[in-house]
Symmetry: C2
Subunit: 377 residues, 2 copies
């Protein structure tokens, strides 16, 4: 892959602006230490991160999960990470906006809830100071200690009103599907702060989370990746059948990195079962596909591309891609999707909506004139 | 629904013979008691069935899970249940064959493994004597105490060579995905006895099984039904990536009652991930979709029908329905699929393969002249 920052690549089709809904940037432990309370700063100095990790259970791809080309600087100069992802990704693909989704989801699955809360706050503050305030193209995600929904809501209220924080984010791995009423304080805080709720694949079966499938632990990473989608399905059905969108009509939910084409047969099934069984959940007034269309978004990477090319567009329509799909690259992970190569040919309107408009509307991102480097300073 | 046995209905399209791959017939506790060892017979007399049950956790549909029209006789005359399902289903739809899949999957999730083994043996013997030996159209499934794969293999060897036993069957709910090596004695016995291995949805998250989703317990039956498919996905990925079909090239696996259209995006995803990650599981020599095509079958009910009618046939081709799909009615459950109504229009060849040929080949069922009642006696 070309790593020269001066090599600007025009956006897909040449005209479409790009919002990338899933960028992982380095958030170094040394960097967030100053934001931690003294007790945890001292613990971290002795014990390190001390968080459950996926890689202790399941292999990943690439080099430690990232593209081999991604080798961020190891020195601690303040802007070095930012400059690196600018050169490698943001400038290179001339992104209009990039949504940062965080770098360590282990916080969502440690049993030490106060430590999780401290790490979330420190990491949120670090991201604001070292990324968001230095490049107006970058937007942030509020990590929360979801182990304690009341504490989580406090963190959303603390930092969620920052103009560059555009969503709340949690790992896909969980102990209960996210429609469960135990999470309600989180959704109240999301609505109060006008923030969508994003679920990003990670930490399935790790730490305090439930095993990664309904049949227990899997053995290999390929199975593990498949299991992530299954868990996202469970969250989606849970949001709908628990009536979360009836209780919180302004809530939006984003499903990040769990694939996309699976949504089609899944909503066919949910709609059928709802028709037959809706007397059991009378608060679910509309077919499940309607709640999906009105309240949920799905990001593109990784795309399950049908080998039968003629099925691509019908599948895109079946998942309501025109309104519900948003492009994500997952930079810098090994299964990165280049905006130039991710999709087969689409009509201009669909391209515009997937690469830009759907995310711009959801995150309320104003159209902006693309400056050379996009830096505010 | 018409319940008069004299109302014979011609098979779909008038010419196609029908093999129904999922029929549940009553196996009464009083009926199997004589087949139990004395210790369990006495326990059953005091405590009843004593098995974990889905309905204690999650609602079902219809009347206790069955169609309202299904009201089998309560007297204990030897042939009354058999005569009832003949009149209600087998004669009515003029079935060529019907595969009986059992009536109580709680045996697969009790912690009392020897009790499970005794119940499986008793139920298998009852089915042979009271159904299979009295109607040559009915074929049976060997229930096994999967809690102990060695004991399970013994039951397969004990009863699996009976000419009317055509498969081994277990519940979809499990503590480990079925590709795990702990189950190998079962697959050795399947191959030794020339029997396919069927996974039937049931008992997800019940008794000793893992919670029904990778995010823990769901709240409602509609979610629960969606979760069953997720678990079947986990089993499918597990069989493929653990290399079960490499170790047992003659093994066939049937996925019963978990839907069918989901297979398409699922194998697209598995094939892509295998391409990128196959160095991690080098024993998986072919793309996952090839193992599915050669070793797995899926039954039809419940069918996720696309609301976009023009997608039906492309989806059928994408799941390789011509070779891999077999019709199932799930009689007498509330979500029963009539062979006359289950499918939209298909070409004759596909209809013939789904309703008859695929099952006839898999179960090695000879073509037979349809006798009026099909009874041997």
């Amino acid at each position: 892959m070309e790593t020269n920052a001066s090599t600007k690549i025009k956006s897909p089709g040449g005209k479409t602006s790009i919002i990338d809904c899933d960028i992982h940037a380095t958030i170094p432990l040394d960097g967030i230490k100053p934001y931690l309370p003294r007790i945890y700063r001292e613990q971290v100095e002795t014990w390190g991160r001390r968080l459950p990790g996926q890689n202790h259970m399941y292999l990943n791809g690439g080099t430690n999960g990232s593209m081999q080309e991604h080798q961020p600087p190891r020195n601690k100069e303040e802007d070095s990470y930012l400059n690196y992802i600018r050169a490698q990704h943001i400038d290179k693909f001339n992104l209009e906006y990039g949504i940062m989704t965080g770098s360590d989801y282990g916080v969502h699955t440690t049993p030490d809830t106060d430590y999780a809360a401290a790490l979330c706050s420190a990491s949120n503050d670090y991201v604001i100071e070292h990324y968001l305030s230095r490049d107006s193209r970058l937007k942030g995600s509020v990590h929360i200690p979801k182990q304690d929904p009341i504490l989580a809501a406090k963190e959303i209220d603390r930092v969620g009103s920052h103009p560059d924080m555009v969503q709340v984010i949690v790992s896909n791995g969980a102990i209960k599907p996210y429609g469960n009423r135990m999470y309600e304080p989180i959704y109240e805080a999301c609505v109060r702060n006008n923030l969508p709720f994003a679920i990003h694949v990670s930490m399935e079966g790790i730490g305090i989370n439930n095993p990664p499938t309904g049949a227990g632990y899997v053995s290999y990473y390929a199975e593990y990746r498949a299991a992530r989608t299954q868990i996202m399905m469970a969250h989606m059905a849970s949001f709908i059948f628990e009536g979360v969108f009836v209780k919180y009509p302004d809530l939006k939910v984003i499903m990040v990195e769990a694939g996309m084409m699976w949504v089609a047969p899944f909503i066919w099934r949910l709609d059928q079962d709802w028709k037959a069984l809706r007397h059991q959940t009378p608060w679910v007034k509309e077919p499940p596909s309607e709640y999906y269309r009105k309240h949920m978004k799905v990001t593109s990477q990784p795309i399950e591309l049908p080998p039968q090319k003629e099925m691509f567009m019908p599948m895109m329509e079946a998942i309501y891609a025109r309104e519900n799909l948003m492009f994500a690259s997952d930079y810098p992970h090994w299964d990165f999707d280049s905006p130039l190569l991710a999709f087969p040919k689409m009509d201009e309107e669909m391209k515009e909506r997937i690469f830009y408009q759907n995310a711009a509307e959801l995150y309320r991102l104003p159209a902006r004139k693309q400056a050379a480097g996009g830096a505010r300073a």
